[in-house]
């Protein structure tokens, strides 16, 4: 038999708002719908209700009863994200989840109850002998973790599960086959019949669900039509429509509308931090990490500012995401006060690594992703990554890729003896020079002296060592050549219209230093210095 669970959040509008503003949890808060004279209370906290605030009262009435009432408008973004959070919690219990509207979720838990155990050390709660009760308690804990005060009911039909969830003593499990018995004493209003149908049933003299269930189905259907037949099924604990599972969402959203426009970055980041924290927790529940974060700022008086941040590696670290967001906003401010925001996290599976007991310790993928994201935000794109060689003959060619190291070997090895190669320091970009040449054997050219070309607009350089002077960010090189070795010819792209043909020399200057010089066309450059 199919077993369905219902997650129900009472006063969902209020619960969604308090989830975004947890500081208001112990305050007298009323959620208001409508503007001006039409503003009326739709939900209120317990503290406000104790003072007489009730749903349906106008805001003026509520203020007369409780002048210090904190009024908050309904926030569609908060409610949407709270509903998504509830659905995501449900998806951790079952893959078949139906979104039934504000604060109500149905899920198929048939056979799932065996996977859940009682929380160890839960004081004051007797251990559950029923496996379904254990599942329901685990669901309550999971909802609590995403700051939603949900109630849980389990039964064989959606109506019975919903009614069980609405009971104040949660969780409630209706034993299999006893749905009709469970529903029988309840008033007909629990079935939520339409107004005309409710009046007709009242005229029939029916007071409870059990009274309706006792009547023959054909008689009800002949008098009330399709609506009556569905009501009769529901009264007998049979769902007129099966569970409608929802597809998995491709992204995670969080956001809120602000009470007043924000013009400074710090207050915005303070609120964004809480939203990102909620987003991170939701992704953690599903086992995802964020690979791209998009955020849309609602501007005052109108307009939107949409941005996106690509993370170097999937991460759930709130601090990293907040740092990247700060850097992006500092670089290009939105240009208008912000009255709302929404974050969209595109999920991806976080990287995992199997650590070795005896080999070299591996870098944690999670920490690595965070570090690289921070480094990229500080240094800029293309300045952090894994170096790669590129096919070709030109020595300055290189590429930089996303750093994702392979796992270390299982056993630690002994390093091989170094080849002892002489390293060169590459100049990026190559430094243009003037060259004096002299004749050599054959057609070859030998270099007699070199001198870097100094831009006339730059100030006159001041020597700070024997043969080097600092020119802005470049190095000025010059002097008589003592030993010249070359040329070595390199040709690349001979098949194209403009092939790259170069001749390379190694030159040692009289004053010291060995440089790699090349001629490309009519121009001369120094592109590297041998380690000196």
């Amino acid at each position: 038999m199919t077993r369905l669970a219902c997650f129900y959040v009472p006063m969902f509008v209020l619960a969604a708002r308090l989830r975004s503003e947890p500081d208001l949890l112990n305050e007298a808060v009323g959620i208001v719908e409508g503007n001006g004279n039409n503003a009326h209370i739709v939900a209120a906290t317990r503290r406000a209700r104790k003072k007489g605030i009730q749903p349906g009262q106008s805001l003026a009435q509520a203020r007369s009863l409780l002048p210090k009432l904190i009024a908050r408008g309904r926030d569609a973004e908060c409610e949407r994200t709270a509903q998504e959070a509830l659905l995501e919690v449900a998806e951790t219990f079952s893959p078949r989840v139906e979104d039934a509207g504000e604060g109500v979720v149905f899920l198929d838990v048939t056979g799932m109850e065996r996977h859940f155990a009682d929380e160890p050390g839960s004081a004051g709660v007797p251990p559950a002998s029923d496996a379904e009760l254990r599942l329901a308690r685990a669901a309550l804990r999971a909802c609590d973790a995403v700051s939603l005060p949900a109630r849980v009911g389990i039964a064989a039909s959606k109506l019975a599960a919903r009614v069980a969830a609405e009971l104040p003593k949660s969780p409630t499990v209706v034993p299999a086959g006893e749905e009709a018995t469970f529903l029988a004493p309840l008033p007909l209003t629990r079935l939520s019949p339409e107004l005309e149908v409710a009046a007709m049933l009242q005229r029939f003299g029916l007071a409870s669900i059990g009274d309706l269930a006792k009547l023959p189905e054909s008689e009800i259907a002949s008098r009330l039509g399709e609506v009556g037949r569905e009501l009769h099924w529901a009264a007998r604990g049979i769902d007129p429509r099966p569970l409608m599972p929802r597809p998995l969402p491709p992204e995670f959203r969080e956001g809120t509308e602000l009470e007043w426009p924000l013009v400074a970055l710090e207050p915005f980041l303070f609120i964004a931090n809480a939203a990102l924290d909620r987003l991170s927790k939701r992704m953690e529940i599903q086992g995802f990490a964020c690979k791209r974060l998009e955020f849309t700022l609602t501007l005052d008086p109108e307009g939107y500012d949409a941005r996106g941040i690509d993370l170097p590696a999937p991460t759930r670290d709130v601090k990293t995401m907040l740092t990247l967001m700060r850097l992006d906003l500092e670089k290009t401010p939105p240009g208008a006060p912000v009255v709302g925001f929404s974050f969209v996290a595109h999920p991806d599976r976080p990287r995992r690594a199997q650590l070795s007991l005896f080999g070299p310790s591996a870098v944690s993928p999670e920490k690595l992703a965070t570090t690289i994201a921070k480094l990229v935000s500080i240094l800029g794109d293309g300045r952090v990554g894994m170096p790669m060689t590129v096919d070709g003959h030109l020595p300055e060619r290189y590429a930089i890729n996303v750093f994702s190291p392979p796992p270390p070997p299982d056993m630690k090895r002994t390093p091989a003896r170094a080849r002892g190669l002489l390293a060169v320091r590459t100049f990026r970009p190559p430094i243009p020079i003037e060259v004096t040449t002299r004749e050599a054997a054959g057609d070859d050219v030998q270099i007699a002296s070199i001198r870097s070309i100094v831009d006339s607009e730059t100030p006159s350089p001041t020597p700070n060592s024997r043969n080097r002077v600092e020119v802005g960010s470049k190095i000025d090189i010059g002097g008589t050549v003592r030993i010249c070795s070359g040329p070595w010819r390199i040709e690349e792209g001979w098949w194209s219209d403009r092939p790259d043909i170069r001749e390379y020399w190694d030159v040692e200057l009289e004053r010291g230093g060995v440089y790699r010089v090349f001629r490309g066309g009519a121009e001369w450059f120094v592109d590297a210095r041998y380690e000196m």
Partner: protein, 294 residues
């Protein structure tokens, strides 16, 4: 005194004749680590599986041995001998001067990555050549290349990578300091603490001494001398560069020792040593004043 004498008398029996020394019983044979059960188990297993089986006592001994061997060899024998085996893990080592610092950096990267360790190169002068590094034996897949533009970014990147778990972090500063303000000495103290707390090996390569007293060892690289192939009118080919290294400071070893290392060009690999010539030069390059002061 009398009371004290009586006490000694009762405790140690000073007044009795000295006992004849007897040969001590031979000490019990210390377990070799391979217990009976492990030996029997290994005998029944296939050789390839038995070789991977480790007992608890063997594991404890291996961990102790690993702690003793907490050095990362640079795989340049003269330099390793100068440093007492290599770079100390969990410590900061500095190489200063105008010598062949970058070649030492590349060799150290090759040593670390070849055994599967993750390394980070903080290349402040943006002069790293991946092609040459690959030829020198660096496993580029295990190397994080960071190219900061200021000194502050350089130290920050080193601290972050060290705290992330990279086993080797190298800061290389070219022939001149990157732009930006000088970093305070406290930054180097913090970096040394990162190395110690995360067990990272940190190598600083700079034209002048930067780390002060915070580093474990400091090597001074003297100005190098190029060596050429080819005699007489024959065309010349750069054979390599020779440089003198001096141990300026070490927390465990006596400073002042010197050694000479030779790095050869890839084109000259395989050439006979007798072909390498040193062309005399009037330039007697000495270490910079800053390096001397360190």
């Amino acid at each position: 005194m009398a009371v004290l004498a009586r006490r000694l008398d009762t405790q140690f029996q000073l007044l009795e004749a000295p006992a004849i020394l007897k040969p001590a019983t031979p000490p019990q044979i210390v377990e070799s680590g391979e217990g009976e059960a492990v030996r029997n188990l290994r005998a029944t297993l296939e050789a390839s599986i038995a070789s991977k089986l480790t007992s608890g006592s063997e594991l404890v001994r291996a961990v102790a041995r690993h702690r003793r061997e907490e050095i990362l060899p640079t795989t340049i024998p003269p330099l390793d001998a100068l440093l007492g085996g290599g770079l100390a893990r969990g410590k900061m080592t500095e190489i200063a001067g105008r010598g062949t610092r970058f070649s030492i950096v590349i060799a150290t990267l090759a040593a670390a990555t070849s055994i599967g360790e993750a390394a980070a190169l903080i290349d402040a002068s943006d002069s790293f050549d991946p092609q040459l590094a690959e030829a020198a034996g660096v496993d580029l897949r295990r190397l994080l290349w960071v190219r900061p533009q200021t000194m502050k970014e350089t130290v920050t990147a080193a601290e972050m990578t060290g705290a992330t778990g990279f086993q080797l972090v190298i800061i290389d500063i070219g022939s001149r300091r990157p732009p930006g303000r000088r970093v305070p000495d406290a930054a180097w103290v913090r970096l040394a603490r990162v190395a110690e707390s995360h067990g990272a090996t940190i190598l600083i390569s700079a034209p002048y001494a930067l780390t002060g007293t915070t580093s474990e060892a400091m090597i001074l690289a003297h100005s190098p001398r190029p060596r050429w192939l080819g005699r007489g009118n024959a065309p010349r080919v750069l054979a390599g560069v020779e440089t003198k290294l001096k141990l300026e400071k070490h927390r465990r070893l006596r400073p002042g020792q010197t050694t000479t290392v030779f790095f050869q060009c890839e084109e000259a690999v395989g050439s006979a040593q007798s072909d390498v010539i040193a062309i005399p030069t009037a330039d007697t390059r000495q270490p910079t004043a800053a390096a001397k002061a360190s």
